[in-house]
């Protein structure tokens, strides 16, 4: 096996220069909880590893009506953070349920997004919050809406010389919830997950965003399902119709965790539960 180059810069400028030099020959390493198993199982043979854990990118702050998360903020930090729990509840829930303690301690929010797993828990919550992804390169920085960020399984619009620097979350006006189904109750990848943001005026739904995970090659924003309930009275029947619409647009696969058939059935139930919780509907 050939040697793998390893860089662990301590400055962002230096990091961006390395990315500019190596481009696709550099693989960014943060917590490594997705990357290292792939290397160990020979699915991935990186030329060079670029570790970003020394850049001071682990922070959570509130700025201009947005929550700003450094890319290397650990999922454990996010799960335990009071600001996130209060203002972006679904993200804290997603982080809490994303894995076991050991995984959460090193896994990062930037990695969860950049890895572009169709079932990524934190990314699912961020999708329902209309988060923006800040990408930096020697050419400057740009911001991409998370709904435009994923292009396929493990694929994103990030260019090879760009570093995922921060995630900006417009603080949700309504209630956000996150639900997931795994093959056991903890330490499990999602068989299906969903995150919902609902702004309600009494029983009427003013604003809705629904994200669905592990149901297609990328996370899904279910805009047609959202349109069904927006401006309408949201009762359990409406929630069920909305969930059916959301799942109708999905294209899940069979894998070790569940069949596509199961994912469609259970995913629909999951969206109903999430909507009911977000809208305070009692059956």
């Amino acid at each position: 096996m050939k040697d793998v180059g390893y860089f662990a810069p301590s400055e962002i400028g230096e990091t961006l220069k390395l990315l500019a030099d190596y481009g696709a020959q550099a693989t960014v390493l943060a917590g490594g909880t997705d990357l290292v198993p792939k290397i160990n199982c020979y699915e991935l043979k990186p030329e060079n590893l670029l570790y970003i854990g020394r850049l001071g990118l682990d922070y959570i702050k509130e700025k201009d009506g947005k929550l700003v998360l450094g890319a290397a903020t650990s999922t454990a930090q996010i799960a335990a953070n009071e600001l996130v729990q209060k203002k972006a509840t679904a993200l804290a829930q997603a982080a809490y349920r994303s894995g076991g303690a050991a995984t959460k301690t090193i896994a990062t929010v930037g990695g969860n997004v950049a890895n572009a797993s169709p079932g990524a828990d934190l990314a699912c919550a961020l999708l329902a919050m209309d988060a923006e992804i800040a990408l930096a390169s020697v050419r400057g920085t740009r911001s991409v809406a998370i709904k435009d960020f994923f292009t396929g399984r493990g694929e994103t619009v990030r260019r090879p010389d760009e570093l995922l620097l921060e995630i900006h979350i417009p603080i949700p006006k309504g209630k956000t919830v996150f639900w997931k189904l795994g093959r056991r109750k903890a330490k499990t990848l999602s068989v299906a997950n969903t995150s919902v943001h609902l702004l309600m005026d009494g029983k009427k739904c003013v604003e809705a965003r629904i994200a669905l995970g592990a149901m297609a090659p990328t996370l899904l924003r279910c805009t047609q399902a959202e349109a069904l309930i927006k401006g309408q009275t949201l009762d359990i029947t409406a929630a069920e119709e909305c969930a059916a619409r959301a799942v109708a647009d999905s294209a899940p696969i069979d894998d070790q965790r569940a069949s596509a058939w199961y994912r469609k059935k259970a995913g629909q139930a999951l969206v109903v539960c999430a909507l009911a919780q977000a809208a305070d509907i009692n059956n």
Binding site: P37, C41, G100, L181, R183, R184, K185, A186, K187, T188, L189, V191, D254, D255, Q256, R257, A258, S259, W261, Y262, K265, A266, Q268, A269, L270, V272
Partner: protein, 331 residues
């Protein structure tokens, strides 16, 4: 919709071999400081067999348990036992330990008798010392014996070996199972909740009781029932060992795809109970049982699912998908 169900099971678990032969050997050595080393071939793989055999050695020698060290990693030099399987150690190996203790006691009494100038029959061995029967003032502590033996041309190792009665075939008329050493009996009661839309099962309350002959270490018995439950839950609900829907492509290849239960999958309420009916084959009535505690929860879960859903599920693991398919087949 969430539905509740209750289920019960009664199971039995054979412990120890006869038919395959189940030899057991043990050695106990007196050390210069008056403590003892028990050398056994029984491997403690976390189930606590070293503790159990140490308890038996301390009991038979009449010395504090702290004074016994167990060496179960002596490799080639270790006396042989058949091993840690078939829930056999607690049933079979204490026999060899008991015989080794008796042998060592006789050697020590003989040595002490020479020191006291009396017959070995007139020496008592109790409370971690030896004394002259009719003249208790004449006594030696075990530390004094250890030091004395060390400073004389003597080495004291008690040995014991035991072999259970030979094999007779299973009797289909009476149901008697003489091919196994003993049989332990278990029962499980549980309450669960199952979501008919996701197929997710929550075990709310679970009680498991085992008849263990003699609870040599009651706390360890209960912990073993807990450990067995963990295995049983995985067996019943999540651990997939062969390909399932839809093809061979999805056989688990890494532990990340093989779902053993976590603490979060455990019942919220979990009671464990132990009953004792001394078994004639065991030392002090003891027998094994622990592996059986992984089996009792499974039929109880299947029964509770039937109670909740009205369908009998005939495959394990009962994954959420299996439940939804069973409900779909019922219509």
């Amino acid at each position: 919709m969430k539905k509740k169900g209750v289920g019960m099971s009664c199971v039995l678990h054979p412990t120890g071999n006869k038919g395959a032969g189940d030899p057991s050997q043990a050695a106990i050595q007196l050390k210069p400081d008056g403590t003892f080393t028990l050398v056994t071939g029984a491997v403690d793989l976390g189930q606590g067999s070293s503790t159990i055999l140490r308890q038996f050695a301390a009991d038979e020698l009449g010395v504090p348990i702290e004074n016994i060290t167990v060496n179960n990693s002596a490799g080639n030099a270790a006396p042989v036992t058949m091993g840690s399987f078939a829930s056999r150690v607690t049933l079979i190996d204490p026999h060899a330990v008991k015989l080794a203790a008796e042998d060592l006691k006789a050697q020590i009494c003989k040595w002490a008798a020479a020191q006291f100038g009396v017959n070995p029959d007139d020496v008592t061995f109790a409370d971690n010392k030896v004394a002259v029967k009719n003249d208790p003032a004449k006594s030696l502590t075990m530390a004094e014996v250890g030091a004395g033996v060390f400073n004389s041309p003597a080495l004291m190792i008690g040995t014991g070996a035991w072999y259970p009665a030979p094999f007779t075939a299973h009797d289909p008329e009476t149901g008697a199972m003489p091919s196994v050493g003993a049989v332990s009996f278990g029962a499980c009661y549980l309450e669960l909740e199952v979501d008919t839309e996701t197929g997710v099962v929550d075990i709310l309350k679970l009680v498991q009781a085992w008849e263990v002959g003699k609870a040599v270490n009651p706390l360890m018995c209960k912990m073993q029932i807990g450990g067995g439950l963990s295995i049983g839950l995985g067996y019943a609900l999540s651990e997939e060992c062969w390909p399932h829907a839809p093809s061979m492509d999805f056989v688990p290849e890494v532990l990340g795809d093989y779902f053993i239960p976590t603490f979060a999958d455990y019942p919220l309420e979990n009671e464990r109970a132990v009953a004792e009916v001394p078994h004639p084959m065991g030392v002090k009535g003891a027998k094994g049982f622990s592996e059986g505690s992984s089996t009792a929860p499974i039929p109880a879960i299947i029964a509770a699912l039937h109670d909740a859903l009205g369908v009998w599920i005939t495959e394990i693991p009962v994954t959420p998908e299996v439940i939804l398919r069973a409900l779909g087949a019922r219509g």
